[in-house]
């Protein structure tokens, strides 16, 4: 290679710009000290460039690298997770910047920059992320261009060229994205670990759900294949909670389970017979089909309408007939569900272990409620009458509010007999406690209720988070009872917005501005884009690829699919070539100039060549001396040419054309 491959000075500016752009999205999960270190290294590099500071020696670099590794190990407890690896990637890239002397080092830094952008997508995959990363590509490509333009040449317009290259790459990228064969995951990989959980969680205390509601944000989107159930049937069941410690509800923690496994996982390959308890969930109507795209929650729960069945591998059905995912949902997850809205659960009998766990109550709390419940139980005909009595009480003088007053140690007592103000979790919790105290098995269910129709899909937001109850009734099994529906029927009929127009109070969430018409329209539009982005881009998989290919090709073979890939890429490259040549086409001379060139060619045929740099006037005057008989004709051409060229006379242009066409230095009719 050439000896002097010192780096062009302009390229450093591009490189620093690109690196900063690439790192910025990662700041969301990088430790503070790493961000400080990055800024420090950037300053060092700039000072190095200005010749003020020195290149670090080998030992200092080694020390810095060691400190980074130890620091990341200390921060995350491991080096093998995704976050520490990304942290290490970014730090090593920055350290490489300090010892960048040669062309190859610079190339390494640029490639690490592309890699950093790729890891950004493991944390977030919105349209905004992608558009931002395209800008990063432009900057990285600009860095490559500036690296390759050499030291002494006139500066090339780097940015326009980088943008042009990026735009030319996009069609090729789309073709490769659509057609290039896809393999599933090849081996298991570390996923984002310590991200905060979002959405309805595995435990419920007073205030949890109202807080979730106020925070806002998308929970999941649903697209129905056929009929859409009415709003009051949209109970997205997530977590069944049977254990109460006096304040917080949580799922029961069974150590062992007498009837078989607790979760029946979907087994794609060999369809094993269902666990015996699966027969306890009985579908009474034809299932409706729909597809859910769940935002990452970092929790195992999946949400679906009861009674749900899934076929996705890696998911399963629990004994409570809720859906779960192996591990946690750390990336956006798409799953197809079949739900029979008419169903019974555990109709025949409730096993003794289930009965005891659904009657469990902590001792010594809420004495008033216990006493009242036992009195009511004795005076009621059956469980259903008891339920009705409770709901009537609630509907008469209770308030549904997002900001209930605080509750004491005996939270249910405080709520039922003193404050009488609460959100859904208060009602569900009090109802279940009351039923259990009265001897009726009951449990809390957390999930979402309702959803918003946007174009052709339904979006369920965190503000739709909800909690309700299920009681076990003889002959009927587990039956849904929603005490919130008694106090605020419109919540269930038309959604949370019907009750609280401004339920979301988080100023960072666009849902907080629903009441502003323009903002609401913008929000809906963003949701539509996001939904389509998820559906067509993020969830484009092998199955959809095969669908696309078979609609294009009919029968898919390796041959015609390969031909399609190569052919379309070649076509695009051909168009790019064409574009380059068209863009660089020599500029067309103005008409009078072309006519004059034609005139000169006629003279040249007679051996009279216009000299380099000779003006039109002096050339024609020279001709006039040589061919005095042609004096008038030559003068005419000269006059017309000057008129057309300098006075922009259109008529003269026409005459000039005729004169040049007729003109002959030595012609038939003309003697010299």
């Amino acid at each position: 290679m050439s000896p002097a491959l010192a780096l062009p000075r302009a390229s450093l500016a591009w490189m620093l710009l690109a690196l900063v752009a690439v790192i910025v999205p990662h700041c969301r999960h990088l430790p503070i000290w790493e961000i400080a270190a990055i800024i420090g290294i950037l300053i060092w590099r700039v000072q190095l460039h200005r010749g003020l500071w020195y290149t670090p020696g080998r030992w200092i670099k080694l020390l810095l690298a060691l400190i980074s590794v130890v620091g990341l190990r200390w921060q995350y407890g491991t080096l093998l997770g995704l976050e520490p690896m990304v942290g290490l990637l970014i730090l090593s890239k920055m350290l490489k910047l300090l010892e960048m002397h040669r062309f190859r080092d610079a190339m390494t830094v640029v490639l690490l920059g592309f890699f950093t952008t790729a890891t950004q997508f493991l944390f977030s995959q919105t349209i905004v992320d992608f558009i931002y990363s395209l800008l990063c590509f432009v900057l990285l490509v600009a860095t490559l261009i500036s690296l390759n333009q050499g030291q002494n040449s006139r500066p090339i317009p780097t940015l326009p060229l980088a943008i042009k290259l990026t735009l030319q790459c996009i069609p090729v990228m789309v073709v490769l994205f659509l057609v290039f064969p896809r393999l599933g995951s090849l081996w298991s990989v570390p996923l984002p670990q310590n991200a905060a959980t979002t959405g309805v969680s595995g435990s419920m205390s007073p205030g949890d759900i109202s807080k979730l509601t106020q925070d806002g944000g998308r929970a999941f989107t649903v697209s129905f294949r056929g009929a859409v159930p009415s709003n009051r049937d949209l109970y997205w069941r997530g977590i069944v909670m049977s254990y109460f410690d006096g304040r917080t509800w949580s799922p029961s923690r069974w150590g062992s389970y007498p009837e078989g496994t607790l979760v029946e996982w979907v087994d794609g390959s060999s369809r094993q017979p269902h666990q015996s308890w699966r027969q306890q969930g009985e579908a009474l109507s034809a299932p409706i089909e729909y597809e859910i795209i769940l935002e990452p929650t970092h929790q195992p729960w999946l949400f679906a309408l009861p009674l749900a069945e899934v076929d996705e591998s890696g998911t399963g059905v629990t004994r409570d007939f809720t859906l779960v995912k192996e591990g946690v949902v750390s990336q956006r997850l798409k799953y197809e569900v079949r739900s029979s809205l008419n169903y019974t659960l555990d109709r025949e009998e409730l096993s003794s272990w289930a009965e005891s766990s659904n009657l469990q109550l902590p001792v010594d709390v809420n004495p008033t409620t216990r006493k009242t419940a036992q009195e009511w139980a004795q005076s009621s005909v059956d469980s259903e009458a008891l339920i009705q009595r409770f709901l009537t009480m609630v509907s008469s003088d209770f308030t549904y509010t997002l900001e209930p007053p605080p509750l004491g140690v005996n939270s249910v007592d405080d709520f039922l007999w003193r404050t009488k103000q609460g959100f859904c979790e208060h009602y569900a919790s009090a109802f279940v406690f009351f039923m259990r105290a009265a001897g009726v098995p009951a449990r809390v269910v957390a999930g979402y209720q309702g959803g918003e129709w946007i174009e052709n899909f339904m979006q369920v937001s965190q503000s739709d988070a909800h909690a309700w109850a299920e009681v076990w009734l003889p002959e009927k099994g587990w039956t849904r009872v929603d005490p919130t529906a008694a106090v605020a029927p419109e919540r269930v009929e038309s959604g949370i917005q019907a009750v609280f127009a401004r339920s979301v109070s988080n100023p960072l969430s666009i849902e907080a501005y629903r009441h502003i018409n323009l903002m609401n329209r913008l929000r809906l539009q963003l949701d539509i884009w996001n939904y389509n982005w998820q559906r067509w881009v993020l969830n484009y998989d092998q199955e959809q690829q095969l669908g696309l290919l078979s609609s294009l090709l009919g029968v898919i073979t390796w041959w015609n699919a390969g031909l399609l890939l190569v052919g379309s890429v070649a076509l695009i490259l051909g168009l790019v070539t064409l574009y380059i040549w068209l863009a660089n086409r020599p500029t067309r001379l103005p008409t009078e100039m072309r006519l004059f060139v034609k005139f000169c060619q006629k003279c040249r045929r007679q051996g009279l060549v216009r000299r380099q740099g000779e003006s039109a006037r002096s050339f024609i005057e020279r001709l006039q001396q040589r061919y005095p008989k042609q004096h008038a004709a030559l003068q005419e051409i000269l006059d017309l040419f000057e008129l057309a060229a300098y006075a922009e006379d259109k008529a003269a242009l026409k005459l000039l054309r005729r004169a040049v066409t007729r003109f002959a230095l030595v012609g038939k009719g003309v003697k010299t």
Partner: protein, 332 residues
Amino acid sequence: MWKLLAKPRRWVERRFQRFLERAIPRRQSVKLGQKQLFILPTANGWGYMFAASLIWLLGTNYENNLALALAYFLAALFLVAIVHTFNNLFRLEIKYLQAKPVFAGEMSEVQLQFTPGGVNRFAIDAYWSEGNRIRLQLPRDEPQLITLYVPAKQRGWYRPPRVTLETTFPVGLWRCWSHIDLDVLILTYPKPITCKPLPHSASDHQQGQLQPVSGGEDFYSLRSYQAGDSLKHVAWKHYAQGRGLHTKNYSAHLDTRIWLDWSLLPGLDREARLSRLAYLALEAEKLRDEYGLKLPGLELPPNRGKNHLQSILKALALFEPPTTSVAGGGQP
């Protein structure tokens, strides 16, 4: 190991040379077309594709479509770069104008004309493998004169090896290049080697004798007038006396006239003799002496001046051309 491979390597090189001679024949002017251009990924290009495939693996394993899209973007850039890099040289026209005569072993200035042919061209490297490398930037529509330097290795009409034009523009992933033979011939004088002045040759025996020299100072003899003789030297007195038109001959001492005589350098081989003669010619010119050249079968009468020096050096350069070992220049 290296030695074992030397033979097949030479064979490959010879095959490649022969291929080049067919694909890019020797021409004064070459327009780079598809047949003349080669394009391959650079080392950086391979590294880049390796990184792209790692990102592809990342995307595949995480089933992350955006990481996959990034990998495809990188692949797309790799492909699109072919078109750009290739077009940076495609249809570029190079014409050999002239080369400056030099002494063997020195760098000759070779003037080339680059015609961009309506395309803006950036960062094109032009070089001879032993010469300097320059990076060109050619705005479209204007031909540009470029001077390249190449060492002239051998006396005579030295033909340098092929000149290389290459570019990695715009992103350094591909290298597009061509080796062209522009029929460059460099008049190469023998490399001057210092030596003592020659003993005065033929003139030695007639020391003190006068020889007719035009421009001499002392009157020597009369001879009949010939056309072309200066009128200043016509013997007008004789003419007036009716004795016909005569020209006065003047004379000078021979000391100032040097004969660079091949035969006065015995015991040396041909190249050594020529080198010394070249040195002496330069010295004589420096001292403003008159000097002539005597080679077997060639004699240049004494004179002085730049043109005379050049014609003497040229005669030295072209005298009995050394046998060339390899087409395109051999070892000195």
